[in-house]
């Protein structure tokens, strides 16, 4: 049997060990004041953290086969890493480079793609798929003009482009091309982003030299965005769990009316409801990660379900964190806003919940009027 009838929704011992290692690293290298300070600096991404994570721990290559210098692991492990990165709102291009760009390259069969995969797997090269972060799997995306080996055009909403060394650009001739970010004719202009921990940028190409990765970009982009959407659910789970845990911790300590605020039933019920949503999100996210890891025939449904469910839960969790922290939750100093901005941006990334529900209408045969 190629596909198991039941997905494995638990974490293996190895996955738990991986989680512990990533969490330790983030505790040491990615504290909230540091992340807030970085959002006001010239360099929104954290190159030191990325170096330890991607290169030092080898996590950039989880999805890349060992023959190409990767770890030959699966989406299940990458999902665990993303849970932890979401919990820390870490400003590193993991989802965009180690998952989405990597998946696009895995769909290409050229030597050029294989070479780039090795580079991305090492963590020393960062890749970005030059498709708007708002595009869901199967959605139309913008392409640029290809003329005599060079690309011309402008692409907006490209996540982590400012950190990228190489851009994977779809062209109107149907091909997918690799463009070095520092080449002549390439301009990456940061856009003022809602989420400064995963900023978007405009990519302008004026005769940018390009190397063809595959003549058929559509399936590669689709595969990349599907993996992105599916594993984003794990990031959203980690983010939501942080919001819940931190809010519960705060409300046990915070006293008003001579009682802990967390003892009021109106508050307790809201937190219990949120806990239910978070628990559900974990199951949905594990299901998507497992379906991707096993190349299950159910992967399209699993990803759409996970994203349709997880995106609003992450937003709800972050909104509750802001509200239930009261005044302090509204300040720049407190990290709750980092989570709110990430969660809200995530709810658009790789397709909205509504977009994924529309996809499900076809996938599970519940068609529109």
């Amino acid at each position: 049997m190629t596909t198991r009838t039941q997905p494995d929704l638990l974490y293996s011992e190895e996955e738990e060990a991986l989680r512990a290692a990533v969490r330790d690293l983030l505790t040491d290298h990615c504290d909230a004041p540091g992340v807030i300070a970085r959002t006001e600096s010239d360099q929104l991404h954290d190159p030191e953290l990325w170096k330890v994570l991607g290169d030092g721990m080898g996590l950039a290559g989880l999805l890349v086969p060992e023959s190409l210098g990767g770890q030959g692991a699966t989406h299940r492990e990458a999902a665990v890493v993303l849970e932890e990165l979401g919990r820390a709102v870490a400003p590193v291009p993991y989802l965009t480079s180690a998952v989405v760009a990597t998946e696009a390259l895995l769909a290409c069969e050229t030597d050029e793609a294989a070479e780039l995969l090795s580079a991305l797997a090492s963590g020393r090269t960062i890749g970005a798929l030059a498709v708007t972060l708002a595009a869901g799997p199967g959605a139309p995306f913008t392409s640029v003009r290809h003329e005599e080996g060079a690309l011309h055009g402008e692409l907006t909403g490209i996540a982590d482009a400012a950190a990228a060394d190489v851009l994977l650009v779809p062209a109107e001739d149907g091909g997918l091309y690799a463009v070095d970010a520092d080449a002549d004719g390439v301009t990456v202009t940061p856009q003022v982003s809602l989420d400064l921990t995963r900023p978007v940028a405009t990519v302008t190409l004026v005769g940018a030299p390009a190397r063809r990765l595959t003549p058929d970009a559509a399936p590669a982009v689709r595969r990349a965005l599907r993996a992105g959407a599916g594993l984003l659910a794990s990031e959203q789970f980690g983010l939501a769990e942080w919001c819940l845990t931190e809010t519960v911790r705060h409300l046990k300590e915070r006293k008003q009316f001579n009682r802990p605020v967390g003892g009021f039933q109106a508050i307790k019920h809201r937190l219990a409801q949120l806990w239910l949503e978070v628990v559900n999100t974990r199951a949905a996210a594990r299901n998507a990660a497992d379906a991707l890891a096993t190349a299950s025939t159910d992967a399209d449904v699993a990803v759409a379900v996970a994203q349709a469910y997880a995106a609003p839960v992450a937003v709800h969790a972050a909104e509750e964190a802001v509200q239930l922290h009261g005044g302090i939750g509204m300040t720049w100093e407190h990290p709750a806003h980092l989570y709110l901005k990430r969660a809200k941006a995530d709810s658009i990334a790789y397709g909205t919940a509504g977009g994924h529900r529309e996809a499900l209408a076809e996938l599970v045969d519940l068609r529109a009027p």
Partner: protein, 402 residues
């Protein structure tokens, strides 16, 4: 007992399969009376393998029950119709196993499991629902027996039951949690009167039970005098585990019928209903995955607190989905299949028509713990939030406001 003499001594899947085949050879289902077969299965320790030897089990891991069940099902063996005897299996049995005397265990568990004695539960009262510990049914000691007076409510299977698990107040001078004792009540006692309780669906799944000078021998007390609240926690805990333990296929619950209607009746579709249906479909699928994850945790021996949440999710989804279904049906939603008063033996939340499902699901957030109480339980036991200030814990039961 008659459990097959152990050979290897290792109770693994292979050994259980071997013992199951041995049972099937000794008592071919096609040629054996149903009840005889079930009792032979019990005596072979294959009823519930995680129970002790001599009490229908082998002390084997619970996860191996599936091996036995699959073998028996493949051989066409009869089962004990677990849905009909759910209260006995899910609530009475684990409580008797944990707190019962040797006599009680050997007297009650075998006919309970085989289903020739049906059990019911006499817990809730008109004045003690969410606040179950406030119950007022009195049990007064008279020699070797207890004399019980009071009224119980929401008792399913009371009209079919041979035995009941009962909690009653034995000391009104103590605070409410401490003056309760747990009994096994003979439902054929002349002081037991069972009346059907008609509900909003038109039928009567449940009963009111009036207890008038019912005599219960002290030998039918379960646990210590005054320890009934703690004993009852075992009963209620197992209720929740049995709810969380079921494996459901995609669209296996309330979302199934409405999805079917949607596919078969394009004439009913509107954009608004489509959006709402898809949203609920996703939530139902995710709740199913959470249940499946919980099941995998139990099998792996790592039970999590997720079970507390399953019933909450299931109640809300059943209500919203069946409500949507009535609306989807438009003019047909104005109709109801049948208001005739009946006493159904089995209840299927997803059975009958959409109107019935809508009305019956209203009970899902009340029965077995209201959603409001369950949210408190999640908040306090899972999230560790403080409880509301209470004024009832240290006051004698007789002095509480009523």
């Amino acid at each position: 007992m008659t459990a097959a003499a152990s050979t290897s001594g290792v109770l693994d899947a292979a050994e259980l399969r071997r013992r199951t085949r041995e049972l099937l050879e000794a008592r071919p289902p096609a040629e054996t009376d149903r009840l005889d077969f079930l009792k032979a299965r019990f005596d072979a320790g294959l009823a519930w393998v995680h129970y002790p030897e001599g009490l229908g089990g082998l002390g084997a891991p619970r996860s191996l029950q599936g091996v036995v069940d699959a073998e028996l099902e493949a051989a066409g063996a009869p089962d004990n119709d677990p849905r009909r005897i759910g209260i006995g299996l899910g609530m009475a049995a684990p409580t008797i196993l944990r707190f019962g005397t040797e006599e009680q265990k050997s007297r009650f568990l075998r006919p309970l499991w085989a289903g020739d004695e049906v059990w019911c539960q006499l817990f809730s009262e008109p004045g003690a629902g969410s606040d179950l510990a406030a119950l007022g049914t009195r049990a007064v000691r008279e020699g070797d027996a207890w004399v019980v007076n009071g009224q119980k409510v929401w008792t399913s299977s009371a009209h079919l039951a041979r035995w009941a698990i009962l909690i009653a107040r034995t000391d009104p001078d103590l605070p409410k949690h401490r003056g309760i004792t747990y009994f096994i009540c003979d439902m054929t006692d002349p002081g037991v009167e069972v009346r059907p309780l008609r509900q909003i669906t038109g039928e009567a799944e449940f009963n009111e039970v009036f207890l008038t000078d019912v005599r219960i021998p002290d030998a039918h007390r379960l646990g210590e005098i005054g320890d009934g609240w703690r004993v009852a926690q075992t009963t209620l805990m197992n209720e929740r585990v049995s709810i969380g333990g079921m494996r459901i296929p995609r669209e296996g619950g309330m979302i199934g019928p409405v999805s079917k209607t949607w596919r078969e009746r394009p004439d009913l579709r509107t954009h608004d209903l489509h959006q709402r249906l898809l949203k609920l479909w996703v939530e139902a699928e995710v709740a199913r995955l959470t249940g499946e994850r919980l099941r995998q945790q139990l099998v792996a021996g790592q039970p999590g607190p997720e079970g507390s949440g399953m019933k909450l999710a299931f109640a809300r989804l059943n209500q919203e989905i069946s409500g949507l279904e009535v609306e989807l049906l438009g003019e047909e939603g104005l109709l109801y299949d049948d208001w005739t008063m009946r006493r159904p033996e089995l209840v299927d939340f997803t059975g009958r028509d959409a109107g019935y499902r809508y009305l019956r699901s209203k009970g899902n957030s009340i029965e077995g713990g209201t959603s409001e109480v369950l949210l408190n339980i999640v908040a306090e036991r899972v999230l560790g939030l403080p409880s509301e200030p209470r004024t009832d814990k240290d006051v004698a039961w007789k002095d509480l406001a009523r």
